[in-house]
Amino acid sequence: MSVEATTLDSPAHVLDRQIMEVDIACAGFGPAMGGFLTALTHAWTKNPADPAFESKVAPGMPLQVVCYERADDLAAGVSGVVTRAQGIRASFPHLNPAEIPMAAEVSSERVLYLLDPIGASRRSALLRLGDFFLRFAGKLAGVRDHAFELPWTPKFLHKQGGLVLSIGQFNQWVGAQLMASGLVQIWPGTPVSEPLFEENISSHAGRHERAVAGLRLADQGVDRSGAPADGFMPGMDVRAQLTVVGDGPVGQIGRALDQKLGTPEGHARREWALGMKFVIELPEDASNPDALNKKALARDKVIEDAGGEDSTLQLGTVWHTFGYPEPEIFGFLYVHPHRLVSVGIFVPSWMGNPSRTAYRYLQHYIQHPALWRYLKDGTLRSWGAKSLEESGRRGEPFLTGNGYARIGEGSGSTNMLTGSGVDEAWTTGTQLGEAVVELLHAGLPFTQQNLSKTYEKNRRASWVERGAREAQNARNGFHGGIVKGMIGMALAGLTGGRLSMHAHIPPAHKQISRSSDGLTLKDAAAVALADGRPLHDALLSARGWPEIPFDGRLLVTHQDALLMGGKVQAMPGFADHVVFLDRELCIACIEKTCIAMCSGQAITLGDDDLPAFEREKCVHCGACLWNCAQSPDGEHSNIEFRAGSGGLHSAEN
C-alpha cells in the first residue's frame, strides 16, 4: 500500500519538519474536547493496565494523547454561558458548582422585550405599533423601565436546573483534572495550521482512500506574510492514528477539512452571530447576590417590607432579552458569584446593515434602563467576543472520516432554538470518547466506517440530534424580518420543530445589504473624517444614538477595553492569521463590514482603501470571516482566518 502525506498547500515536503508520532492528536480545547478527553480519561483511570489503552506508537506506555490549543492559556476562553448542563452533569454526577470559579446554579429566568428609550433603533412599522400599545398600557401590561417581561419563559428556552458559567474557568477546571490524570497533555499557545492528509491506495478495492494522518503545527519565527525570519522553526508534523477536531466554529482545521473533503449535500455554514460581552463587577450597594432577596423575605413575612424598588440581582439570575439596541440583537445577563455579571449581545449575520457593529451597541445595551438600574456604578472587569455558528444541523460537516472525527460547535452541534451550545458540544465530545474506548477494546482501527458505526450512531440516537432536528428551521423567519422570525421561532419551539417557516438562506456575504443609509451615510462620513473615528461609529451617531459618556470605569473606549481584564496580545514570530485574499475585491468593496464588525478594531482602513490588519489587537473572534461583503467564488469569504497565536487573556470570561 503506498502512502503519500500531503497538506493543502504543498504536494510534497519542502521543509525538513520534525515529526512526532502520537496515538490521538486533538485540535482545540473547549467544552467538546473537554468532554472527549474526560470520557477517555474516566475509562482509562478505571483500569490503567487495560491493554486496550496501550500506546501503539510507544509500546509499554499508555496512549499518547496530545491536545493543541491556540489560546495562551486554557482559562482564556470567551463565552457568556448558561447551560442546562445535562451532558456535563452526566460526566460529573457529583458536580458541585462551588468547585468551579464563577459557576452558579440557575435560580431564576426572565425573558424581556426591551423598548427603545432613545428612539434611534431601526424598527419596522409593525414593531413601532406594538411598542406604542405597550407604552400606552404601561404598568398595566407589566412594562417597567422600558421593558416588557414575558409572563412565562418558553419551555424551549428554559435553563432551570442548569448552570451559569465562565467558560474560561470551566475549561481551566476541566483541564486541571485531565492533566492531573497523567494520560492527556494539553498544550496552550500552540496554534495548529492544517491537517495532514494521506492518500492510501486500498489493496482491496484498488481505489484511493483519503485519510487524515495528523496535524501540522504553525510555523514560528516567520514574518507577517509567513516567510522564514529570525529563529525560524517549521511547525512540527504530529502524526496520529486518530485526529479529533474540536476547534470551534472558525477553526482552521475544520474549515480545511471542509475545503478538501467537501460537505454533505445541501449543508453550508451561512448563519452566524457575533457574541460580545462584558464581565461587570456590581457595586456593593446595588446587589448582593450572595445574600437573600429582601423582597422575597418580605413576601414570605420573614422581615418587614421596607418598601422601595427591588434593586438586587440574585445569584444565578438569567435574563434573555430582545428588541434593543436593534430589533435583530438578542441579549443576555447572567449573575455569577461575588457580584460578577456577564452581560452581552448577539449581532447576527441576518442583520443586513453593512455598518452593523458590536462594541458600541453593547455599550448602549447595558445603558438600557432595565439593565442600567443594576449595572450603573459597576466596574468593567473584562470583555470578550466570539463568533457563534448558527447553522446548526444545516451546517453539519462530515462528522467522521478515515482517521478523524469532528465534535463540538464546528460539527454543527449548537442548538439555535434553545440558544445553547456548551452542553451539546460537551456531549458530542463524550460520545466520541465512548466510541473511541469501544474501538480500542475491540482492537479496531479508526476508519470512517468504524467511527460512523459507533460515534455517529450514538450521536444520531441522542438528545443532541433530537434537539438539532427540532431547531433546524427555527430561525428561518428572521431572514424575513424580526417579527416573522419571532413567530417562526415560537412556531418551531412550541411544536418541537414539526412546524416552521421556510426560507432560502443566502451565503453570508449576500446577507449584507448593499443599500446605504442615504443622508446619514453622508453626514457620518463627514463626522468620521473630521474626528478620525471609524465610519460605523460615526454612522450610529448620525442616526441619533447618543455619544457614550465614558467614565473610565464601566464605559470605556474600545481600545481601553482591549487593555482591561486580561488584555490582548500576540506572540511574535507568527504570521498574520487574517488574510485578505483578493485585494482588488477589497479595494472595490464599499461596505467594508469587516472593519465595522472587527471586535478588537484590529482591522482598520489602511492605505489605498485596503484593510490593514494588526494581529496584536485580534481577539480571534472570527467575525471577519463571515462579515466580508465580497466573495471570490460565490460561497466563501474573501477573508481567510488562519491559525495564529495570541488573543484574549482574560480568565473571567
Binding site: 482559562a75 492533566m179 500552540t190 514560528q220 512540527m236 486580561g566 488584555k567 473571567e652
Partner: protein, 270 residues
C-alpha cells in the same frame, strides 16, 4: 573549553501580569482578589534566568539543569504546559503556597533544603540562578538568602550576561546605575546569579521538547512534597497598588516625536 556546570533555577509562579490585580485582605493576611482564578505564569525574571541557564547548559556538555519551583501543584502543572515547551529541564516541584506576602526567610529555607537534597547535585559546580527580584513583591531577597543558606558567598544581582573562560572562571555583567553594566570576574563555581532580562529572546514553543519534558514533569508533580511556610512574626500593615491612570487614543497622523512630547507633558501634568 566547555565547563560542565550544575545549574539550579529557582522560579516562582505569579499571576499573569496582564490580568487585573487587586490587593485584598484575607483571613491569612494580604492577598490578591480571586488569585486562584487567575492564570499563572512563571515569574518573568526567573523565566529569563531559565532560558539563560538552558543556553549555558547547551554550550557546556555534561551540564545539568534543574528548575525548583514552590507553588500549588495544580497551578504548577498549568504553568509547566507552557514553560515545558521552551527548554529542557528537570522539574523539582514543592507543593506550597504562592504569593508576594509569605516570609522570604521561610521560603528561602524550604528552597535551600530542597536544593541541598537534590540527588546528583555537585555543589562545587553549582550555579544558582533566579530572578534578581520576584514579580510578586520585588523585594529581591529570597535568592540571596538561599545562597547564604547554601554557603555561597559569590553573589551577583541584576545579571544580563555570563561568559565562561577556559580556566573555569567566568565574567558577569551586572546592571548598575545610568544604564551601564559592571563587569566582574569570578574565579569559579559555586555562585548565585539573580538575573535581569539577559540577552536571549523567549524560546519558541517546541512540542518535542514539551513531550520529552512531560515524561519527567508529570511524575515529579505527582510526588511533590508539601511545604508550609512559617510566618516568623511577619505582619503586613497594608498593601496597595500604585496609582494608575489610563487615557488611550488611536492616532495615525502624529510623528513619534510628537507622540513622545505629548506623553512627557501628560506624565508631567499627573
Amino acid at each position: 573549553m566547555p565547563n560542565a556546570v550544575h545549574i539550579v533555577v529557582c522560579a516562582g509562579i505569579v499571576p499573569d501580569p496582564l490580568q487585573t490585580l487587586e490587593p485584598i485582605t484575607t483571613p491569612n493576611g494580604p492577598g490578591l482578589k480571586n488569585e486562584m482564578v487567575l492564570p499563572a505564569v512563571l515569574d518573568p525574571w526567573a523565566a529569563s534566568a531559565l532560558y539563560e541557564a538552558a543556553n549555558l547548559a547547551a554550550k557546556n556538555p555534561g551540564s545539568k539543569l534543574w528548575l525548583v519551583s514552590l507553588g500549588p501543584k495544580a497551578k504548577l502543572q498549568q504553568v509547566m504546559m507552557t514553560v515545558a515547551q521552551k527548554v529542557a529541564f528537570e522539574l523539582v516541584p514543592i507543593d506550597g503556597p504562592i504569593g508576594g506576602f509569605p516570609d522570604a526567610h521561610s521560603t528561602a529555607q524550604v528552597l535551600a533544603e530542597t536544593i541541598a537534597a537534590l540527588p546528583g547535585l555537585d555543589q562545587a559546580k553549582l550555579l544558582l540562578f533566579g530572578g534578581w527580584e520576584s514579580a510578586t513583591r520585588g523585594a529581591g531577597v529570597t535568592l540571596q538568602l538561599i545562597g547564604e543558606r547554601l554557603g555561597i558567598t559569590d553573589q551577583f544581582q541584576g545579571v544580563d550576561q555570563i561568559d565562561f573562560r577556559d580556566d573555569g572562571s567566568f565574567e558577569v555583567l551586572e546592571r548598575v546605575e545610568g544604564g551601564k553594566h559592571q563587569l566582574s570576574v569570578c574565579s569559579g563555581t559555586p555562585a548565585v546569579l539573580g538575573w535581569a532580562t539577559g540577552n536571549l529572546p523567549e524560546p519558541r514553543n517546541n512540542p518535542q521538547i514539551g513531550m520529552a519534558n512531560m515524561r519527567t514533569i508529570m511524575p515529579a508533580l505527582q510526588k511533590a512534597k508539601p511545604a508550609t511556610l512559617a510566618a516568623n512574626g511577619l505582619r503586613y500593615v497594608s498593601a496597595s497598588l500604585p496609582k494608575q491612570q489610563r487615557a488611550t487614543r488611536v492616532v495615525k497622523d502624529l510623528t513619534p516625536d510628537q507622540i513622545a512630547r505629548e506623553l512627557v507633558a501628560w506624565i508631567g501634568a499627573e
